[in-house]
Amino acid sequence: MNTYLRCCLAFLLLGSVACGGGNSESASAPAPAAAVADPVNPETAGGLKGSIKLEGTPPAAQTINRRSDPYCEQQGEAKTQNFVVDSGGLENVFVYVKDGLGDMKFPVPTTAVVLDQHGCTYAPRVFGIQAGQPLEILNSDETLHNIHALPMNNREFNRGQALKGLKHTHVFTTAEVMVPFKCDVHNWMNAWVGVLNHPFYAVSGSGGSFDIEKLPPGTYTIEAWHEKLGTQTQMVTIGPKETKEISFTFKL
């Protein structure tokens, strides 16, 4: 949108003051994804399993001061989640195929990925989605949230959700790892989404484990991303029907 149009839009908004609103929201309807045949042959597809390890002692989780919103405070004590470690395994690490798929096109799921604002935190904190797949952002709290995405390659948006149950659907059009989300009302709320053109990604869970299935045979660059520790990459070759195990070790 050029500057002139933006100015016109701003002036029009200035003159259109709504009264007594707050309970309506228009969701941007997801554009229908073009039908693409799945290029993965299930007869030869393999997989990738592994775990994320953390060396060193992470900083202790801090109690978040949530007094600025009585509702959030009533939800109980919340702690920072920058480092979620279970038996030496690091959770919330986004693992994905960064390179090696060539020009393959993959079907885009029509089922929405849900990002919930619940208990004044985002759930999930780290997740993946395919470009073109709908993202449903839900407010499950009885307080106001704004969902503010700060992408570099996609369109930035900032939507207010004043009431419990409000949903906003958004579609990322371009692959981008990672797109941060924040709530400017509650400055402790952060989430990240990895937007990809393929379905080969996972987020490390309990014990730092992850699992990427139905990966076609080939040689790939696998990247692991953590919100504080950055990225690591590995090359891996998957043979027909082979499930390979790899591990990443982040050091503090």
Partner: protein, 323 residues
Amino acid sequence: MRLHLYAVLVALSTAVLIFAGGLVTSTGSGLSVPDWPTTYGWFMFTFPLENMVGGIRFEHTHRLIASTVGFLIVVLAVWLRLAEPRRWVRRLGYVALGAVITQGILGGITVLWFLPDPISIAHASLAQLVFCLTIAIALTTSAGWKRGYSARGPMPDDRILQQIASATTVLVYLQILVGATMRHTDAGLAIPDFPWAFGHLVPPTWDPKIAIHFAHRVGALIVTLFTLATTFHVFYHHRSRPELWRPSALLLTLLTLQITLGALTVLSQKHYIINSLHVVTGASVLATSLVLTLRTRRRSFDKLDGSQAQDPAYGMRPARGHA
């Protein structure tokens, strides 16, 4: 007199607005209300108080104060139109009105466009000009200004003082622009120590954020030198003129406070109250320097006033028929 008192009230409320704006930036709440001019779909003044939570408290309060100040300036402009005989003072009212409307639109645009640095910096910079305009109106509607500060003889026409005071005011404004750029580009802690820069007099490494932060520190030094030159000149040459040494003394005091707050902003890791006080004290330094500058040039305004300056009822009569 009532018009002057009202103008002072408007200037004070503008200072409060600048502090509230500083709180919005300092707490990172600028986008906590994503829509504008509505607030989460509500008309601004009907937004429920119980929804004033988190960052909304700062952003929505800033909008409410801004609307109030805008209304006060509308009244001021109308009042000047009706009661002020000097055309140039009435024009100050119109300019203030235009500036505050522009300021409101800039504030809205910066929210709708996700706080682009140039718009946010323009919003912060225009706020200072609105404040200066209200200060200038308050000053020029005062009884002392109208009398030409003649109780102790004619106001001196000290060219040197006029020049250094004007230069100080311009430099303070430029310093505020650099400060606004530093705030809105998140460079406030680019140099994390004070008074040193990474333990050195000059930063050993450079990037754009370090450069803008260091420019603000150098700017503070330059402003200090000019302020000292201005105030010492006043104390040495015009000690008998309270209309000059009082703002000079205040300027020096405010500058000392401002430098202290600047240091504390860094040392406290940008505590939002200290940071916001730094913003509003900077505005106060600018306003005080402007008052001093205008007073040093008081005699040149006689030409603008024309024959009205000789009128015993100067400033007392309705404007109609005086244009």
